[in-house]
Amino acid sequence: MAQPSPEGGRAAPAGPGKKITARLKRTLPVRGPQAPTLSELMRWYCLNTNTHGCRRIVVSRGRLRRLLWIVLTLSAVGLILWQCAELLMNYYSASVSVTVQFQKLPFPAVTICNINPYKYSAMKEYLSELDKETKKALETFYGFSEGKSKVRRSVDDWNSTGSDFFQHIPLLKVEDFSRTATDLHTGQKRKIEGSVFHKDSSIVNSGDSNNIIGFQLCDANNSSDCALYTFSSGVNAIQEWYKLHYMNIMAQIPLETKEKLSYSADDLLLTCFFDGLSCDKRHFTRFHHPLHGNCYTFNSGENGTILSTSTGGSEYGLQVVLYIDEAEYNPFLVTSSGAKIIVHDQNEYPFIEDIGTEIEPAAATSIGMHFTRSRKLSKPYSDCTETGADIPVENLYNKSYSLQICLHSCFQKAMVDSCGCAQYAQPLPAGAEYCNYKKNPNWMYCYYRLHEKFVKEQLGCQQICKDACSFKEWALTTSIAQWPSIVSEDWMLRVLSWDKGQKLNKKLNKTDLANLMVFYKDLNERFISENPANTLVILLSNFGGQLGLWMSCSVVCVIEIVEVFFIDSLSIVLRRQWQKAKKWWRNRQQGGPGKAPQAGDPERQGHDNPVCIDEDLPTFTTALRLPLPQNSPLPRTPPPNYSTLHLETAFTEQLPDTLELDRH
């Protein structure tokens, strides 16, 4: 097949180079273009291509018709390109499917907390000073006192035993906006420096500035950098201030002690009934929440089994009677009474303070659940994360990833980085400890500043954290009935008191009790999932449909186009250039050095593939395997084929190239 290459006129390379060229010629699969000139090539292409339309251009007679076909073909190409681009752009779209499955459903974990975190009586030794201080503030600012003598005495006590960190952050009464404030303890008026922050934005420039009460936080290193937090209502101010100090105190108490200070399972749970059978405290797992004390999780899955219900309805869910014990409530920390519950997955962290449902005492709260599972497609369909592993925030909670966990962890990390200690309400990162005044006198100010930044999305947490791709949701329908009813109150309280195992003469109060029912309304699980709307298969068949519809084209045609329009055309152009260059060179040699070299030619030479050029023409003829007419030994000639005629003319026209070489 590889015919001996005719000796070229140009300076032949040395021996080994020639050998390589020869080998290349032999092994190169592509044998050059089908026609010597571009127009011939196009003609050849149009006649032989598999796509429709193109052939029409060549075949049709008349200029108008030909023009029409050109326009049609071009517009078909344009349509194909447009539609395919459209298909490509819509490739990453998702379709949503909802499936409902009726089946035995796993019961979710139900975490129950008393609203009051710790027993007030047990907390006395830690909080007595703070309470005294609060009571004093109430008396000085509002003239409130409960049992005059008691307060008076406590004020006296305070002078002797008072520690000094209340003085760091005292409650202040802001006289007006001239920025003088009355200190709670000293009674002195002092100038307030620094910016004023309003926790309640609505009070800005409210007329009655005398009522404004707040507290001031200063940077310990730079006492002039202070921030004053004021509140429109003293209730908010006192509570906020109390909480600040309370967290401070609680941060110093170790976890074991705190767990003891809080409610035990026996304290909280009076009765328990699940799926028609009795259950008790062993089915609950303790979970210590920094703000809500001991919480108890039913069906936490800790011992490896997750309970499930095979029947819907209130009888088959969880029914518990909770003992709220209002007498042990901290009067300043919590002002409402009852319990909080949250229904969550076993792997989820219960963010009770954020999304808990409150349970009223002396009532039966019935919570019907409806289970929905959702699943989003992750990248590139949407920006969500499967496991949270690709989020640069360390998960401080020992639970599976959620957006909430990420945000809290992110804030805590920022807190440790900038304040040097961790915030009390969130878990500790490795190596950090909770903030308290003894070690970090500055933390309060730092915390408030940071929190403000966090809320204003300046910390970047909201940008880093993504939502989880799959989540389970229990839609709750909460309704309340009176419980116990008037007629059943008597025996119910007696029996529950007996259950509690208390002294018989002490009867429980119905406001200390709350009845809770959590059940599945039905066992239909809704599963909402996103599916890729397109797969590669569908994309390709859509491509094929478009190509086929407009031009009856296929991948083969695409390959043809590549072959003809890129490889062949390029080689033709290159050859042309090469010949031109040679001609020019010859002319210059003949005409002397007077003529300047034309632009582009030296460069072209580098691009030129001599292998392709030299060999093409003979290959072309042999490839077609057309017997030359004069050599044909047959008595009768085959009927003239139109295409053959074309090719033959092409062949004769092709000769100048070869001739040129030969002539040389």
């Binding site: 044998r31 499917s97 328990c272 009935a481 419980w483 009813s485 007629v487 007996w498 039905d522």
Partner: protein, 678 residues
């Protein structure tokens, strides 16, 4: 004969394919097919030919692979969902209101009197064991007690709990067949077996009933000082009275034990009462529904359909759509919804039966049975409860897209709720399934569910072991699983999503006149018969967006499948169905060629054999002439494919093939193929 000739000719014509050898056929196919690849194979030079050959093969296999995927996708019957949200005029949901308490205590008191005295005495003994007041009242009906007694379990010794009877009777529970059932974990399917699965840390405890002397009263439970509770109440259930096959349903809380016991006992008593009597004992519509307003139109208790619900007595359904057209609501907001004022008369509650007080209500579809225990919500007395409704519909396609049922006719469970003329629902199916099992195993129907034909409700007299049987059936996981497996959900699932808010009602300032008017309207007297503990106000209305409909449609239809198949074939090879037909034609042709070859080979064989037999005999002219004609198709009369055996053992050379012209360059193929079309 004519026909045979015609057949032969037709066959001959068929046989005359585009070529007489495989190679010819292939070349012809490649040159003339409409698929894109093969043409290249023969048109290109030898190296390109090879390349094109592999490309064509590759594309063909790609096409088949992708077709496989597409057909698989089609057969998986995926659906796509479309969601629409908005407001439109919709049927107002049916609203069922019930009292949480099924019967007026004043009416059922004669029936439950004995039971109440028993439980009071029992509680007296349990709670205050010291001063057990000697009965001056008439003696207790211990017969009733002994049918399903409550027992006290003394767990001072954990491994050896002692079972104490509350009333001294001569009944001693002896035997090893008793077991304490304390667990909520699964595997206590048969209650009579010996294992007690204690779910948690506690080791398996077995209550060996100690024979205890009938001392006076049980020891005082209040004396226990330690944290651990030492006494537990349990309900003793026996398969029949006096038998040893007993089980103790243990409760962690006495309150629950008492309630459960009371429910079992009262169920047995009430099941003997005929239905009209039970309806009479329940709350009447005119007593319960004090005021009603739908949109701007007044309505009253007569607009409600009464239905007897075993859990809640008389229930009243507004807008059920059974007799009249369902009402439409075309405006959002409380002004255009249903406003109700109810009285639940809490003073008339049965003390031990229902401890929660309030109205039970439920929104459901027209013509469906209200399953209040599952879907119902409470409304508290003395409050105004506002319920904003969003209709959440899910319309699904049936088989084979999802496993759901359109009307329940294909579910193998007899729907007992069809006697209410209500539509199928999964709850109805599950309950019917349970009741059917109950009838099958226990021989009587449970009071809470409708009865199949010819069966009566269970009661202590006729079916002494029913409570035992019911308890074991109820906690049987297997039974539940059977029901879950046999019931199917409905394809159109409608839920009413409620946004519930509450406020105190009536306000203190308006309390007096409201109670006065409502009482007056009820019984035309000036006595105030209502109070805060009884009245309930309800507002039920559509929210601003009142529907959210998720409807399914098939993701892959046959049209989709065909266009995708065509797209794939077109994309890789530019082919169509016609190309497939072409290919099929080629296969038929090649079969023909094979047959001809076989015939030829056989003929050759025979001729060779014949020649071997007569090695010297030269062929005569006539023989030679005959050899040129195609014997197989002209002389051989029967059959298209003359079998080798039937051929005459003609000697001679194989006939020269006409189309030896094919040796010439490929342009002879043109005329050759043209000849086919003649």
């Amino acid at each position: 004969m004519n026909l045979k000739k015609y057949l032969v000719r037709a066959l001959h014509r068929l046989q005359k394919g585009p070529g007489y050898t495989y190679k010819e056929l292939l070349v012809w196919y490649c040159d003339n097919t409409n698929t894109h690849g093969p043409k290249r194979i023969i048109k290109e030079g030898p190296k390109k030919k090879l390349m094109w050959f592999f490309l064509t093969l590759l594309f063909a296999s790609l096409v088949f692979w992708q077709w496989g995927i597409l057909i698989n996708t089609y057969l998986s019957y995926n659906v796509t969902s479309s969601l629409s949200i908005g407001f439109k005029t919709m049927k107002f949901p049916a609203v069922t209101v019930c009292n949480a308490n099924p019967f007026k205590y004043s009416e059922v008191k004669p029936l439950l009197k004995e039971l109440d005295r028993l439980i009071e005495a029992a509680l007296e003994r349990i709670l205050q064991p010291g001063n057990s007041s000697e009965d001056e009242s008439p003696p207790l009906d211990l017969e009733l007690w002994n049918q399903i007694p409550l027992v006290l379990i003394d767990e001072h010794d954990k491994d050896n709990p002692v079972i104490l009877d509350i009333f001294e009777t001569n009944q001693t529970a002896v035997g090893n067949d008793t077991n304490v059932n304390n667990d909520i974990a699964g595997d206590n399917e048969t209650m009579g077996n010996k294992t007690m699965n204690d779910f948690g840390a506690k080791p398996t405890v077995w209550s060996q009933t100690t024979a205890w002397n009938q001392t006076a009263a049980p020891p005082a439970p209040g004396n226990t000082t330690s944290e651990e509770k030492k006494y537990k109440l349990a309900v003793k259930l026996c398969s029949h009275q006096g038998s040893d096959n007993c089980t103790y349903r243990n409760f962690s809380s006495a309150a629950q034990a008492v309630t459960e016991w009371y429910i079992l006992q009262s169920t047995s008593i009430l099941s003997k009462v005929p239905l009209h009597e039970r309806i009479r004992m329940g709350y009447q519509a005119e007593d319960m529904i004090l005021a009603c307003l739908y949109g701007a139109e007044p309505c009253n208790y007569k607009n409600f359909t009464q239905i007897y619900h075993p859990d809640h007595g008389n229930c009243y359904i507004f807008n059920w759509g059974m007799d009249e057209e369902a009402l439409n609501s075309s405006n959002p907001g409380a002004e255009f919804g249903l406003k109700l004022i109810l009285d639940i008369s809490q003073q008339d509650y049965i003390p031990y039966l229902s401890s929660a007080a309030g109205a039970r209500l439920m929104l459901h579809q027209q013509k469906s049975f209200p399953f209040l225990k599952d879907q119902g919500i409470y409304a508290m007395a003395g409050t105004e409860t506002s319920i904003g409704v969003l209709v959440d519909e899910l319309e699904r396609m049936g088989y084979p897209y999802s496993d759901c049922t359109m009307n329940g006719s294909d579910v193998p469970v007899k729907n007992l709720y069809s006697q209410y003329n209500t539509s199928y629902s999964i709850q109805a199916c599950l309950r019917s399934c349970f009741q059917n099992h109950m009838v099958e195993i226990c021989g009587c129907g449970h009071y809470m569910f409708p009865l199949p034909e010819g069966v009566t409700y269970c009661n202590n007299e006729d079916n002494p072991g029913w409570a035992y049987c019911y308890s074991s059936l109820r906690s049987s996981i297997k039974q539940r699983q059977i029901c879950i497996d046999s019931c199917k959900e409905t394809c159109n699932d409608t839920q009413y999503k409620m946004t519930i808010s509450m406020a105190d009602w009536p306000s203190e300032a308006s309390e007096d006149w409201i109670f006065h008017i409502l009482s007056y309207e009820r019984d035309m007297s000036t006595n105030v018969t209502l109070d805060r503990n009884g009245v309930i106000k309800l507002n039920i209305y559509f929210q601003e967006y009142n529907y959210r409909t998720i409807s399914e449609s098939a993701a892959t239809t046959i049209v989709w499948l065909l266009s995708s198949l065509g797209g794939q074939f077109g994309f890789w090879m530019g082919g169509s169905v016609l190309c497939l037909i072409e290919f099929g034609e080629i296969i038929i042709d090649s079969v023909w060629i094979t047959i001809i070859n076989i015939i030829g080979w056989c003929k050759g064989l025979k001729q060779r054999r014949a020649r071997a037999r007569y090695p010297d005999a030269p062929p005569t002219v006539s023989e030679l002439v005959e050899a040129h004609t195609n014997l197989g198709f002209q002389h051989e009369a029967p059959g298209a494919v003359p079998r080798a055996g039937e051929l005459p053992p003609e000697p001679g050379t194989p006939p020269p093939n006409y189309d030896s012209l094919r040796v010439r360059p490929p342009d002879t193929l043109g005329p050759d193929s043209n000849r086919d079309t003649e």
